[in-house]
């Protein structure tokens, strides 16, 4: 089964990426894999504190994921899978694509900000030539109806 990989973070644009991936997966009989990356913490003086920070980050991600997962299950009949990795977002996304050969498309949301589409889109499009799968970039302010129409 071909899977769509979506990156979950705190940005607003990841919402549209999530929608698009779920709708496409529903239409084409694919799956959705949601990747969340916990960035390395800059405060690491105490290992215990670091562990607690990662634990809380994980809980936050799971709660956040549940919101999307529920919608996907109820509305799109797609059961998404959550993958949590730790490290630099760019490297971990590439590693996840490499590790899971069932991933067919990477779906990213582009920010509507004037400063650019966001660090992930900028970085990944720059290296998009060397990726093993295509990237789909979903504009952050596309309306839901429009998304539904094109998927």
């Amino acid at each position: 089964m071909r899977k769509f990989l979506v990156v979950l973070d705190d940005s607003r644009e990841c919402l549209n990426a999530m929608r698009f991936a779920a709708m496409r997966a529903a239409k084409t009989g694919g799956g959705v894999e949601v990747l969340a990356v916990i960035p390395p913490e800059e405060f690491n003086h105490w290992i215990g504190v670091g562990d607690l920070m990662r634990e809380e980050a994980r809980e936050r991600i799971e709660a956040h994921f549940e919101v999307f997962a529920k919608w996907m299950r109820d509305k799109q009949n797609v059961d998404p899978k959550l993958v949590i990795r730790e490290g630099d977002p760019m490297t971990e996304i590439l590693a996840q694509i490499r590790d899971d050969s069932a991933i067919g498309v990477l779906v990213l949301g582009a920010g509507v900000d004037k400063k650019g589409p966001g660090p992930l889109v900028t970085e990944l499009t720059r290296s998009s030539g060397s990726l093993s799968i295509p990237i789909t970039i979903v504009p952050g302010d596309m309306s839901r109806e429009r998304l539904e129409a094109i998927t």
């Binding site: 003086h45 105490w46 215990g48 630099d88």
Partner: protein
Amino acid sequence: MQIYLPIAEVSVNAFLLLGLGGIVGILSGMFGVGGGFLMTPLLFFIGIPPAVAVATEANQIVASSFSGVLAHLKRKTVDLKMGTVLLIGGLVGAALGVLLFNFLKALGQVELLVKLSYVVFLGVVGGLMFIESVNAIRRSRNAGAATVPRRRQRNWVHSLPFKMRFRASGLYISVIPPLLIGLSVGVLAAIMGVGGGFIMVPAMIYLLGMPTKVVVGTSLFQIIFVTAFTTMLHATTNYTVDMALAVLLLIGGVIGAQIGTRIGVHMKAEQLRVLLAMMVLVVCAKLALELLLQPAELYSLGAAGGH
């Protein structure tokens, strides 16, 4: 290249200072620890008077924490209200600390105070780091599922008066504990020239019950203002902030931190933490020995003053 440090009144090799800044920068970037508690004792060892080392290091922390605070403000991971409460405590603490510092300076005992505080703190901090990292290594060898101990949801902090709502942290607690935490960190900043994140962060998590997401940003927010205030107080009352020293250490530190962060990303530094902890303990032991052993020169002319 020997340069004369005008305030410290010693001449040292400029490259030695750059190198020292660089090494401490690398260590702090690699392990994610604050550099202050490592740098100040190293400055004692190369002959910088403790009073100058402390005041100058406080100054350096302001500069090296600044970009961190900006990043956290942008990501909205600073609880400004909690930060302000901690800051009020911190400013009072810093003022008290500088008062104590000046009082002992007048008595000619400030060196002893600073060095003793360092012996105690490095001993405790180094010891705890050592135990923690040994445990971590043992755990990774056994490869057992590491369980993170849950913190207690309610403790004595919740039964104190003067409650205040901290929305960003999702807390409704008394202002007394954050004020006291801020105060003790302020005293430490004034006497030891450290930011105090290594005490404040665990205190905020375990005592106040703040969510870890906002802890680092909030502590940095408090630290830059408290260390800036400390620097001002030291500069205006003791005249012990050496700009030349600060600039050289800062240049080395900024470059070192960049390198250190890169190294830290590429390898799990867990194993090396034991070495860091041991280094802290060695520094502690050397300071303690210097205090206990009979010095080569029994009498020293110096900034004792006041006689």
